[in-house]
């Protein structure tokens, strides 16, 4: 029996989780020149304004490219690491796992600041290259973790079974391990993409003149203007993320890995 008390706490929880979104959503259609709640009037001007602000359009493309590229590279690097960590017990495997988790545990601002210093020490580096390296580094542990989880669900002996039936090691891996990693890889892709696309702290330090990610350019826009354009953009981003995650969930059932 679900008690009244549980219903009440659920409603309160949802208010806290969804309330801010509802306010932003409604504010993005308001006619006031500054953000206000409850909004007065109705207009789509702020949405039009989003698409007319070149700062947002440019940084959207940068964020998109950055998220795709760094996610794919972190997956390619994460796969063999996850495989090794799950399949082999070697000396220091625990340490390796901890070190690979570090970017999750260390505050993003610290990582961003440390990387900025490091890249400055390295000398001339393109802003995009720096962003790419930074994002790949923070996504890498997610790739390793999610792919490891999908590998742990797989009986380690399936590879031996394939080999005993006549497949070479590599063929056995390709035929029986890889197909069973697909869902995990897809889950890691979605998670990595969203993590990169939404990242502020690392991008904040590594962005440069003319090369800025969308969240950072939103932040700097807010420093000068407080009109509902940001609310409209936020609404668009929430919709984008929800569509992405929902379609991945439908296709792959990724919630079992995250």
């Amino acid at each position: 029996m679900v008690s009244r008390w549980m219903y009440t706490s659920l409603v309160i929880l949802y208010c806290f989780l969804l309330g801010p979104f509802v306010i932003i959503f409604m504010a993005s259609f308001g006619a006031n020149a500054t953000m206000a709640f409850p909004p007065q009037g109705f207009t789509l001007d702020w949405f039009a304004n989003v698409f007319e602000t070149s700062q947002f359009i440019d940084s959207f493309w940068i964020s998109l490219q950055l998220a795709l590229l760094s996610t794919i590279v972190s997956l390619i690097m994460g796969m063999p690491v996850a495989y090794a960590l799950v399949r082999f017990q070697f000396t220091g495997s625990g340490l390796v796992e901890t070190v690979f988790s570090a970017p999750i545990l260390v505050p993003g601002l610290v990582i961003g600041f440390a990387m900025l210093n490091f890249f400055v020490l390295l000398g001339d580096m393109q802003v995009m290259t720096g962003l790419f390296i930074g994002h790949t580094a923070i996504l890498f542990p997610y790739s390793v973790r999610v792919i490891s989880a999908s590998l742990r669900n797989l009986d380690p002996y399936v590879e031996d079974a394939a080999v005993s039936l006549g497949a070479r090691r590599l063929r056995g891996f390709l035929l029986v391990v890889l197909p069973n990693m697909q869902a995990g890889i897809a889950a890691a892709f979605v998670l990595g993409f969203i993590t990169s696309f939404n990242n502020v702290p690392v991008s904040l330090f590594l962005s440069g003149p003319g090369v800025t990610t969308l969240p950072v350019s939103m932040l700097s826009y807010l420093e000068y203007y407080f009109d509902p354009t940001i609310a409209a953009l936020s609404t668009l981003l929430v919709a984008f993320t929800v569509v992405l995650v929902q379609s991945a969930e439908r296709l792959l059932g990724l919630s079992q890995f995250v």
Binding site: D155, D160, A161, A162, S164, L165, R169, V176, N180
Partner: protein, 359 residues
């Protein structure tokens, strides 16, 4: 010449700590031999060496007289059934069974014919299009068996194939494996830690301990006449005690039991017993009986407790040579804790064992 021959196999995972030491075994064509022992005794290591997943430090594996030792596992032509079944979760039952045939580039028509036959043999022809996750544990085990045998391997290896099943299903599957093995006439090596399983399924049993063979023989022989203390213990001889030998002949020896002398068969791997030597005596709980009264013969003891087991009562009796566990018909005379009893032996079923060490 044995069909499968293991010669002086030595495998060590760590330096100077061999898991297997000079292990030799021959398995005849169509024979089912069990490797029986506690975990860490080297039975799985032996199996994985035969399969080619472990490269031995020394020794040879021969099948049909051909040296397999250097052959990679994918070219050994060996069927392997795993404890966890290791079915391919993304493939249907049909494709799981067809996997080995596809690796051998067998024509499509023949694959479908052979897979269907194999699935019929294990009674799963109706499940060809299911995924492993949609099958019960017993059905998954059957798929694993079909997958390993459809390639018509030289040798079939089974690694604790029944330990993930519940007790009743285990008995059924045991018979099923034995039937399939005899139908196919396939040379089989079967690893288990369950003595009942090994007894019921095998032509011969190899009892292993710490990487060495304790005893090889037919199940009946191993059950009735263990040659070492380890085998006796593992085969369920509940009681053991030490006694001095009164006199010894080639196959029998005498010792004192209460006021009498009793005669037992003896086993030794090192020389024959001399009068005065200490022997270790083993007997099962159902190979002795209890009696009371002034005329009763046997070794005097006192009942400590009894527990009820359906048709039988299990008594714990304290005597001057030790505590014994003794099974009695629960319909017979009952002895309450504290009662003075006499323990009467069935010496033809008792065994005396001599070992060099610990005497």
């Amino acid at each position: 010449m044995p069909h499968l021959e293991i010669r002086n196999l030595t495998v060590s995972y760590e330096k100077n700590r061999p898991t297997l030491e000079q292990f030799s075994l021959g398995v005849e064509q169509g024979e089912l031999v069990s490797l029986l022992g506690p975990s860490g005794c080297g039975k799985t290591t032996t199996l994985r060496s035969v399969a080619g997943f472990i490269q031995p430090d020394a020794g040879q594996i021969l099948i049909n007289g051909r040296d397999y030792t250097q052959l990679p596992p994918n070219r050994r032509d060996i069927g392997l059934v795993f404890q966890s079944y290791a079915l391919f979760p993304h493939l249907t039952v049909f494709n799981n069974v067809a996997f080995g045939l596809r690796m051998r580039r067998i024509p499509k028509g023949e694959i479908s014919e052979r897979v269907t036959t194999a699935l019929k043999m294990v009674g799963l022809e109706a499940f060809a299009n299911r995924r492993p996750a949609q099958l019960s544990g017993g059905q998954q085990q059957r798929v694993a068996l079909a997958r390993a045998t459809v390639i018509e391997p030289q040798v079939l290896l089974l690694d604790e194939p029944l330990s993930n099943l519940d007790a009743r299903l285990r008995v059924d599957m045991r018979q099923e494996i034995r039937r399939l093995q005899q139908q196919l006439g396939i040379t089989t090596l079967y690893v288990t830690h369950d003595q009942v399983e090994a007894m019921s399924i095998s032509d011969r049993v190899v009892v292993m301990n710490q990487g060495e063979i304790e005893q090889i023989g037919a199940p009946e022989r191993i059950f009735a006449a263990p040659e070492t203390a380890f085998v006796a213990d593992f085969m369920g001889f509940d009681n053991r005690f030490k006694a001095a030998v009164v006199s010894a002949r080639t196959d029998k020896l005498q010792l004192h039991w209460g006021g009498d002398a009793i005669e037992l068969r003896w086993r030794s791997r090192s020389g024959s017993p001399q009068p005065g030597a200490r022997a270790e005596i083993f007997f099962r709980a159902d190979n002795a009986s209890l009696a009371a009264g002034p005329d009763a013969l046997g070794l005097a003891g006192q009942v400590i407790l009894h527990t009820f087991h359906g048709n039988e009562l299990r008594y714990l009796v304290e005597t001057e040579v030790g505590e014994f566990s003794i099974l009695q018909d629960s319909a017979g005379q009952r002895f309450e804790p504290g009662a003075a009893v006499k323990v009467q032996p069935q010496p033809q079923k008792w065994i005396a064992i001599f070992e060099e060490t610990g005497q």
